[in-house]
């Protein structure tokens, strides 16, 4: 069965999702990967404000290929989530509700997902051309100097994912 959700959403909606559910995402999500996470964590360490508000938001771990002229974005599949494990618990504690990527997460991330009633979705790694068809708009929010690693805001429609870790901590990767 496929569940449709609109992002950003609320904790009440997220805790209904169960490990292994197919979910079709529409709405707005942030995009950030390694270098952007490093910068966000530096700001947090220094006690300075972040350039984005994470409350109830979603972050998709992704760094697209360049868009051809007239196109919205290039290839846009997930990157390996575990490289963001160093930052995820802190961001979840600050209100981040949804993470989208591929692959296993650390025990610390599991704990933070349970603690905050969050969710981790897996998108299909290596299906970047197909996934790009679900993206309706893409705009750089900050860190443009990072190129493919800038923070973006995407509008997506029917982006297919699977619940990899649900709010109860159940994990599809075992």
């Amino acid at each position: 069965m496929e569940i449709k959700i609109n992002l950003p959403t609320t904790k009440e909606e997220i805790i209904k999702l169960k490990c292994g559910d197919f979910v079709s995402i529409s709405g707005e999500i942030y995009v950030a990967r390694d270098a952007a996470h490093k910068r966000l964590m530096e700001l947090i360490k220094e006690g300075r404000p972040l350039p984005i508000n994470l409350e109830n938001e979603a972050i998709y771990y992704m760094g697209p290929s360049p868009a051809r002229p007239g196109r919205i974005i290039g290839s846009a599949g997930p990157t390996t989530s575990s490289r963001m494990d160093f930052a995820a618990p802190t961001l979840l504690d600050m209100g981040l509700l949804v993470m989208i990527g591929k692959g296993k997460r650390s025990p610390e991330v599991h704990e933070a997902i349970k603690r905050n009633g969050a969710v981790y979705f897996a998108a299909i790694g290596g299906a970047g051309a197909l996934i790009s068809k679900s993206i309706e708009s893409s705009e750089i929010v900050c860190y443009e100097d990072l190129g493919a690693e800038a923070i973006r805001r995407l509008t997506v429609k029917d982006f297919p994912v699977v619940v990899a870790i649900d709010s109860g901590g159940r994990d599809i990767y075992g």
């Binding site: 290039g74 290839s75 290596g126 299906a127 690693e149």
Partner: protein, 283 residues
């Protein structure tokens, strides 16, 4: 002697990198399509059919198959009767990479220094492996390599007494640890023997072999088949979501080694296993 202008190498390198990022070689795409018919799990079939659809979208709409269009690995086999003119060959290769990644709308994923980490913005430098061979031709093989799978690769310095069982354990341990991170179904390159760097280089080179081709050494061919079937019974499956298709192929290269050692390198590659070759000097 045959004179080859290095500008021809630039042009070929550019063409190969651009094309292979939009269309996989026939052996890989065929293997994926076959797998999607044979996969036992329904979820696995669903993932594989998405991967097949992804290949079609990439080719028809000119969107790279994967956004990680890789670090540019180039194998050059240069005939010793070739005279290269018109510039330095490594500059020519890098110029080809620059051209492909800029004009081909490919992602620039290379940083200038492993610690300073500033993007070079043109995906150079390439990683170039040159070999002088017999003859008067130049063979270029490009293999852009994504790092989701590269990061899950391993090198083992086994003891000779561990033998073939040790090799099998090393490969299976690497594959299990790679799991969903390295975008299964995998192609797995294994280098056995030589020394530390030779084993790694063989593992990388093994990834450029055609899926479906047999290993020339019979016992190594059976080892490849045995490993493939053990890997496919691990249950990792397409995208790591479970199933009977965890790998499309295991390719092994071997080399003589020292009496005291048994090096084993396992280079993991995802289903976006990109390799394409061209020969310059073929009449």
């Amino acid at each position: 002697m045959r004179r080859i202008d290095v500008s021809l190498i630039t042009q070929k390198v550019a063409e190969l990198f651009e094309s292979v990022n939009y269309k996989l070689s026939d052996d890989v795409s065929k293997a994926l399509r076959n797998a999607s018919e044979k996969e036992e799990s329904a979820l696995g079939r669903r993932v594989l059919s998405s991967l097949c659809e992804n290949m079609d979208v990439a080719e028809n709409e000119q969107i790279p198959i994967c956004q990680d269009t890789g670090m540019a690995v180039v194998f050059l086999e240069i005939g010793q009767e070739v005279e290269l003119v018109g510039g330095y060959i490594e500059d020519a290769v890098n110029e080809g990479v620059r051209k492909a990644y800029e004009e081909g709308y490919l992602r620039k994923s290379v940083v200038n220094d492993p610690l300073e980490r500033i993007n070079t913005k043109d995906n150079t430098p390439a990683i170039i492996h040159e070999r002088i061979v017999k003859g008067d031709k130049v063979k270029i093989t490009v293999a852009p390599k994504g790092f989701g799978s590269e990061n899950m690769s391993r090198l083992f310095m086994l003891k000779p007494a561990q033998g073939v069982e040790g090799v099998k354990d090393a490969v299976l341990e690497t594959v299990k640890a790679a799991g969903p991170n390295a975008c299964p179904p995998f192609v797995i390159g294994v280098g056995i023997g030589g020394d530390f760097e030779k084993a790694a280089l063989m593992a990388k080179h093994a990834l450029t072999r055609e899926i479906g081709s047999k290993n020339e050494k019979e016992e190594i061919n059976s080892l490849e088949e045995e490993l493939l079937s053990s890997i496919n019974s691990l249950g990792i499956g397409p995208a790591g979501l479970g199933g009977s298709t965890t790998a499309l192929a295991v390719f092994i290269e071997t080399y003589p080694t020292h009496i005291a050692g048994l090096p084993v390198a396992v280079n993991m590659c995802c289903h976006v296993s990109r390799h394409r070759s061209a020969v310059i000097g073929e009449d």
